[in-house]
Symmetry: C2
Subunit: 324 residues, 2 copies
């Protein structure tokens, strides 16, 4: 049995995922309407999970517990998804460590607090680990797993293995960095967006459209590094860094870039090196971008089909209009 | 006829797109093998463009010109995609302005130079405008259009209309900002990634996986602002800012956030406001994320099918394994 602590978007989304994967879930949240909230989130997630191949009859059962102690009494794994408040997380994780046995892993969905900062009140912090999901946890595969200074390495390993068994894509970090990996990247983008809105440089609508109609279409298939590897053409990342290296000094964002030392250049070139040819990667990207565009077009709410910012749909059914 | 200046990844990609949309293209690049390079890029793009509904018989014809003057002599529209070198762009744009007639728009694919900085040598800078595409220009719909201080507002309008007629999604900016919109956002993410690699905080592979298995799966359907609107649950952006506002002060990225003033908070809340319900947006996102995951899974090169960083595929055909 898995215990889900917290009945918000993340806690409820985790519950839906664990249920769909056949696990019984006991959930708890101090809100008086926690049960209703959880069931609403789980039911909202059900069609997506059914469609992913988890029919209702394979689901586990959901119990809403009357207390924290009751919720975790029989738990093999606890997923804590309380609000992002350091003091609250400290007290809650200390309680969870005290209320669970030595074989139980307590994972926190924290968006960015290092476990070493959250585990300070726990008598036994060895079983506390970060297991950071992405919204919605029942659809986005990524979970970032990292321990605090007092977390047992075995617990980090076991938590990663637990998520993998559940079909998650796990990034296991060997050190604590606030925001982990994805949220650091996402937060840099988000802060630049806030600056732009604050300064009147772009509207919220332009910012969203610049991603959905632009680089956002590449990121599900090739991450930012491989994307730029392809931007370098046959010369790959090395050519890209030589060509666009100077732009690292340009005021393209308020975030200053690191110095492009030979070490960093080599790390990027070696990190993006692959046996696959430029042509093969381009073909893969092209197939994926087309499929992604079609996927998004086909799934926009019919009565709210949002064309691009130009007011035009992406579809190509308009005949070409030669200029002469 | 459209003139494409530059035979790199971007210039060649533009040529393929214009050709597929039925336009004749005259291209030029100082490289001795410019013709071969262009034809290679155009042929690599052909299957994607065919698949998007542009069969070979509807394509325009490609001519490789022997000189810059010859390339633009009859051009109604010039797309300049030379290397990202300010001095080179200044001289080239001055030449292009001089070599073309008063009815010809000269658009630059620059990744981030403001036109006011590039137009300094042009005798008539009124027809020079930025038309910034994304790689590959034949698949990513976004084009950012913005003029310099000397650009005629009519030219900015006409360039935007030209791209829209060609099926592009256009963001028309009313002011010059280095990097425009999408590249500022992308560059902030990229610089944070470089810092992480430089500091040993994450590997290139982890950075790419954190996006392809994580937030990258949401961005083609909902941009960063709407994504965070949904992260706030029924309370939307307002709740999200109240909940995660404090993280703007946290060291989650090296980019400092702006102060979350009431004005900025309102701009974000109003900018993400929509008549569509939370439930409707969640359902749309879920359908899209599932379709995007399937699209990517189905299009990875068969002999290089890359499972998630966990070594597992996303597919759900594994039976659920209840813990008890």
């Amino acid at each position: 049995m898995i215990a889900c602590i917290g009945a918000g978007v993340i806690g409820g989304g985790w519950a839906a995922y664990f249920l769909a994967r056949g696990h019984d879930v006991t959930a708890w949240d101090p809100a008086p309407d926690a049960g209703d909230r959880l069931r609403t989130i789980v039911e909202a997630a059900r069609p997506a999970l059914n469609s992913l191949g988890f029919p209702d009859e394979a689901w586990g059962g959901l119990t809403v517990a009357g207390s924290l102690a009751e919720a975790v009494a029989d738990a093999e794994f606890v997923q804590e998804s309380a609000p992002e408040d350091l003091d609250l997380k400290r007290r809650l994780l200390a309680d969870l460590a005290a209320l669970t046995g030595p074989g139980t892993i307590v994972a926190s969905s924290t968006s960015g607090f290092p476990m070493s900062d959250m585990a300070t009140l726990a008598e036994d912090p060895t079983r506390l680990v970060v297991g950071h999901p992405f919204n919605p946890p029942y659809l986005i595969p990524l979970v970032e797993v990292v321990g605090g200074s007092a977390t047992s390495p075995d617990v980090v390993e076991a938590a990663a293995a637990f998520y993998r068994r559940l079909g998650k894509s796990v990034i296991e970090m060997d050190r604590e960095v606030p925001g982990f990996v994805a949220n650091r990247l996402q937060e840099a983008l988000w802060r630049e967006a806030l600056h732009m809105v604050a300064n009147g440089e772009a509207t919220v609508e332009q910012i969203d459209a610049s991603i959905t109609e632009g680089p956002g279409l590449r990121w599900p298939v090739h991450g930012p590094c491989r994307t730029f590897h392809l931007a370098g053409g046959e010369g790959g990342m090395a050519h890209m860094l030589d060509h666009f290296g100077p732009s690292l000094l340009a005021p393209w964002t308020r975030l200053e870039a690191p110095e492009l030392t030979p070490e960093l250049r080599n790390a990027m070139v070696e990190g993006t090196a692959t046996d696959r040819s430029f042509g093969e990667l381009v073909a893969e990207r092209d197939r994926a971008v087309i499929a992604i565009r079609r996927a998004v077009e086909g799934t926009r709410s019919a009565n709210a089909g949002r064309p691009g910012p130009s007011g035009r749909s992406w579809s190509s059914d308009e005949p070409p209009a030669p200029t002469r």
